[in-house]
């Protein structure tokens, strides 16, 4: 499993949730962060990969730092999205 070198200020676990929940929750969490801070989102929905990319391009005050695909401790495939608040 890949070790990430990105420091996350907050973590959002939306495993098991299907869209639109991951992005709705991510937006709520980002609003709680300070500018420059990073949110780590853990999702199981494969659709989240393109959705988070698209969301980061559309939304005004965030950027997509990195995306990873790995397995969690339960051997379930998870998708990690690092989102930084930029404004």
């Amino acid at each position: 499993m890949q070790e990430s070198t990105i420091h996350a200020d907050r973590e959002l676990d939306v495993r098991g949730a299907q869209c639109p929940i991951p992005i709705i929750r991510a937006r709520q969490e980002i609003n709680q962060l300070q500018v420059g801070q990073t949110l780590k989102v853990i999702a199981t929905d494969p659709g989240s990969v393109n959705d988070f990319k698209g969301w980061a391009q559309t939304a005004k005050n965030i950027e997509l730092v990195k995306q990873e695909e790995t397995t969690d401790t339960n051997q379930k495939r998870v998708y990690i999205h690092y989102i930084r608040r930029t404004a």
């Binding site: 639109p20 992005i23 659709g47 393109n50 698209g54 559309t58």
Partner: protein, 394 residues
């Protein structure tokens, strides 16, 4: 005030599309998914693409351009995001919006069943149309009580096939795959296990053309000239290599009519591509011979029932995908009276992109690859690309 969930089901949406109802299809999926495949009908359809996260970020901006005076049908991948957009954003703002229940996932597994009106005494032919992908599957009901059936190219959603068979009180006597499919997972083996009817495939298609490995299950072998007796009507197997090496078409003759279940050989507005085994150069001459010396020499009044279509507009006014061989010779651009060389040049310059997932789908169909439901959904994403590129030009 709590808004009632407003939804439309897949079969209802299909009716709306067939009628040419005026509504706006609001697709809220991301760009990649929208480009991969989308809902279409035979009439012009107004489509608006606004990814759902735009409604999350800035709903007042996202609703710009949406009509207040027309029905909006929202669709997403599985029905969750579109339901949210409809119930939390659009309806509270006074839009007449409804959600496609189950989204593209449900649309992808929806089959419309229609009976061919050109039936014969003691024969009924049913066409199952997997609308999202352009796949066609057929059931021939025969026998004095019309209580026996042959299933041709059964889809993997065997529950849908079994529901239909149950409704019509049919006993399946044979299950035939015209060829080993590369674009969709076949329900042939599974249906055979459930109904105990034998499953037929041509042995040349029992070997994966890329892996050169045999199917891991036993099956009954189709052979050129083999006949099935359907209570007096005859179903003859024609071995027509080209699209695959073990490709077959099934010629049905009753007392007064002839039908050709052409699988992937002749389509209504194109022909099947011969490159999915990775050997376009060597398979094209076989394809030419099969089409021109075997299929096109059948009687002109033969009703052709293909295995795929590329555009909903290929359907007849009654919604069925069927045409006589005579009509096809006049209108199908890929069935011109080509010489072999002209045909070869035409084929080799008209090949669409090779879909890499087709190699895996065929492995699944031969039992060489195990795939769970999620993986199969992924593999089957998108419309079929079994025809030459000419079929996809808009």
């Amino acid at each position: 005030m709590h808004n009632q969930q407003a939804t439309v089901k897949t079969h209802e949406l299909k009716l709306m599309l067939d009628r040419g109802d005026k509504f706006v299809l609001l697709d809220v999926r991301n760009q990649e998914e929208f480009e991969r495949w989308r809902i279409e009908g035979r009439h012009p359809l107004e489509v608006k693409h606004v990814p759902y996260f735009r409604f999350v970020e800035d709903p007042d901006n996202a609703i710009q351009g949406l009509p207040k005076d027309q029905l909006i049908v929202a669709v997403c991948a599985k029905g969750g995001s579109s339901a949210w957009v409809v119930n939390e954003v659009l309806r509270p703002r006074g839009f007449q919006a409804v959600n496609l229940e189950g989204g593209m996932l449900a649309w992808g597994s929806y089959y419309q069943v229609q009976e061919l009106p050109e039936s014969s005494s003691r024969l009924r032919i049913y066409q199952l149309n997997r609308v999202a992908r352009g796949c066609l599957h057929h059931i021939i009901a025969y026998g004095p009580g019309l209580d026996q059936a042959v299933v041709i190219d059964p889809p993997r959603h065997t529950d849908k096939v079994l529901d239909f068979i149950g409704q019509k009180n049919l006993k399946v006597t044979a299950i035939i795959d015209t060829h080993a499919h590369a674009d969709h997972v076949s329900g042939g083996v599974k249906l055979s296990q459930i109904t105990s009817a034998p499953y037929y495939l041509h042995p040349y298609d029992g070997i994966h053309p890329m892996d050169v490995l045999p199917a891991t299950f036993a099956y009954e072998m189709l052979k050129d000239g083999m006949q099935f007796d359907l209570n007096g009507a005859k179903l003859t197997v024609l071995h027509i290599p080209g699209h695959t090496l073990g490709n077959t078409a099934l010629f049905l003759e009753s007392s007064d009519r002839r039908y050709l279940f052409s699988g992937d050989s002749i389509f209504l507005q194109s022909i099947a591509r011969p490159d999915l085994g990775g050997r376009a150069e060597t398979w094209t001459p076989l394809h030419y011979k099969s089409l021109y010396t075997r299929l096109l020499t059948l009687p002109d009044d033969t009703i052709v029932l293909p295995g795929h279509y590329s555009r909903p507009q290929e359907a007849r006014a009654d919604g069925l995908f069927a045409a006589t061989l005579g009509e096809l010779k006049r209108t199908n651009v890929d069935l011109r009276t080509y010489t072999e060389l002209e045909f070869r040049n035409h084929i080799l310059s008209s090949l669409p992109q090779f879909p890499p997932q087709y190699v895996d789908i065929k492995r699944v169909n031969l039992g060489l690859l195990a795939a769970d439901a999620d993986r199969i959904e992924e593999l089957e994403l998108g419309k079929n690309v079994c025809a030459l590129a000419t079929a996809y030009k808009t």
